[in-house]
């Protein structure tokens, strides 16, 4: 069983700590995505799991075995790199065989395995070519093939799709998901693209500045973000944030900095009276409504036919995005009032950034 455990994992370069104590468990067969902005430490963390970076403190365990001191090659992992890292002077076949040769696999067996994997990934007709003669998508397949052929317990992917064009990326996303389903292995996948994370993951770990912000299933992260960062990072277009303060006498009454006042639903949040809070509203949950409580000024309108977006500002200049299914008659320069479903509201403590969900 290849369960992956990180316990209090830390990494420092000299006095600079880049991974600040991460605890998480990826269960056998799960597809886990590490996501975060660049510099959050997600790739470093992946390389530590791989055995390519030393671990300053804490433990990495695969199955039940702590692998801190075990060399990369002996951890039963395979990795797909961002640049694919195909050996340029070797043919596709040699690229796929290299890892097996290093563990002294008999020749006929290597041949058999390589050909089976190549067939599965539909690269069998490319086996005698060199990487430079392949297209981006083909190289990607070879890189995946090189990982698959080693029959690892855990697959690691380091931003594998970021060098592909948009269309191919969608295709490959589907293929990797299908691969996961077919092989049933544990996979850890690093990306900065939250769409990739949402579409592929069983579990998402959101990282920022070397810390784990939230770990959970994609929709849980979307529906109940633990803090302002996750709320802003997951979901596209981004969540609108409005700062304000609860009424000193009535904690259900929220006085926004925009000048508007709204009522918070009873019992959903743990806000105190007179507390500085940030209200989060997803663009999809905001609607133009003549009776709405929020006053905004529309700056730009994007009509996409089946949907439309309004970009504007509240009275104090806070930007706002509204997603509207279908087409709209609102035009740039219009003043609108907006309303939000109370069930779709997110509320955070402005000071700590943490959710105030009850």
């Amino acid at each position: 069983m290849a369960k992956l455990d990180l316990r209090g994992v830390r990494k420092s370069y000299g006095s600079v700590e880049v991974i600040k104590g991460i605890d998480l468990t990826v269960d056998h067969g799960e597809f886990c995505v590490f996501v975060g902005p660049s510099g959050c430490g997600k790739s470093t963390l992946l390389r530590m799991i791989a055995g390519l970076e030393s671990i300053t403190a804490g433990e990495v365990a695969i199955g039940e075995e702590v692998v801190n001191a075990i060399p990369a090659a002996d951890r039963g992992l395979a990795m797909v790199f961002q640049s694919y890292a195909l050996y340029p002077h070797m043919t596709v076949r040699q690229n796929l065989s290299f890892g097996l040769e290093n563990i002294q696999t008999p020749k006929p067996q290597i041949r058999e395995k390589v050909e089976a994997v190549a067939k599965m990934l539909q690269i069998d007709m490319l086996l005698d070519r060199r990487p430079k003669d392949l297209s981006g998508g083909q190289r990607q397949r070879v890189a995946i093939g090189r990982a698959v052929v080693r029959e690892p317990n855990i697959f690691l992917f380091d931003e594998p799709l970021s060098n592909l064009d948009a269309e191919l990326r969608v295709d490959m996303r589907g293929e990797i998901a299908a691969l996961h389903k077919r092989l049933g292995n544990t996979m850890v996948y690093v990306t900065h693209d939250q769409v990739e994370a949402m579409t592929m993951a069983d579990k998402i770990a959101v990282l920022r500045l070397g810390e784990l912000e939230q770990f959970g299933r994609p929709l849980d992260l979307f529906n109940t973000p633990a803090n302002l960062f996750v709320a802003g990072f997951i979901g596209s277009p981004k969540m609108n944030f409005l700062q304000g303060r609860t009424d000193a006498d009535n904690r259900s009454r929220l006085i926004l900095d925009t000048g508007d006042t709204i009522d918070l639903p009873e019992g959903r949040f743990t806000q105190a009276p007179g507390q500085a809070v940030t209200l989060g509203l997803r663009p999809t949950e905001l609607q133009p409504d003549p009776d709405g409580a929020l006053h905004a000024h529309v700056g730009a309108v994007e009509q996409l036919g089946s949907e439309s977006y309004l970009y504007g500002t509240f009275q104090n200049g806070t930007p706002v995005t509204v997603h509207n299914p279908g087409q709209t008659t609102i035009r740039p320069g219009d003043k609108v009032t907006l309303t939000a479903k109370s069930t779709a509201m997110h509320l955070f403590d402005t000071e700590t950034g943490l959710t105030l969900r009850a």
Binding site: L86, Y87, R150
Partner: protein
Amino acid sequence: MSVATQDTAIRTGRVTRTFIYVFLLVFALFYLLPFLVMVLNSLKPLEEITSGNMIALPQDWTIAPWLSAWSTAQIGVEPTGLRPYFWNSIKMVVPAVAISTVLGALNGYVLTKWRFRFDTILFGLMLFACFIPFQIVLIPMARILGELGIAGTTTGLILVHVVYGLGFSTLYFRNYYAAFPTELVRAAQIDGAGFFQIFWRILLPSSGPIIVVCVIWQFTNIWNDFLFGASFASGGAAPMTVALNNLVNSSTGVAEYNVHFAGAIMAAGPTLLVYIVAGRYFVRGLMAGSVKG
């Protein structure tokens, strides 16, 4: 650096253009003339030179000066010609180039792909070592070679050239490997390849050009060295350059200019040959040794 594609050419008139061509050709002549003079006069009898026209073709073609320079001319006290010294140089240059290149490649590999604390400082120290005036090491080197019992031998010279060639060979390989994708090394690590296996199977197969550059540079430098040769192997183990200087600057007897020229061409031969065969790499090495990788 060598992939020069674009010209910063400007629009020029006919007169300017003619001037440019004349200028370029005059300088081509300037660079060619001394060598031409050497070749022409090495094929003349001595009287034709002393009677005055260096640039004229030989009236009486002869290869006698070449034969003399190669096997009978007086070098120091012995009439051996340059032949034994030519072999001295070969025996010195081949191992020295091989060893310094291999070490340089390994150093470059470690310094770029297995980085550790202080590696940049270490490299800085090696880099500075390329540029020291060798006068600063002559005295202790003479002593150490004496104590090791290899003063005045080819072995001693090999050691000297390996030591002072290391800086450049490391510089070449480090700069080359710095541009080599580290992800390939990581991939090979995951594929189970060890330290030497990665070097041997992943980096080396892609190192052809830099090996050529490094070998040519080391070969040219070591072959052309005079200071170390003159300081540490002036007797029977002297390299070609030292022997040539002895031939030309010996004060005894009549100066046999034609023999000197023949000898100079022999001393220039191997490096010139390398330049003609692989000039592109020679230039690349020069540039990498001066500017960036």
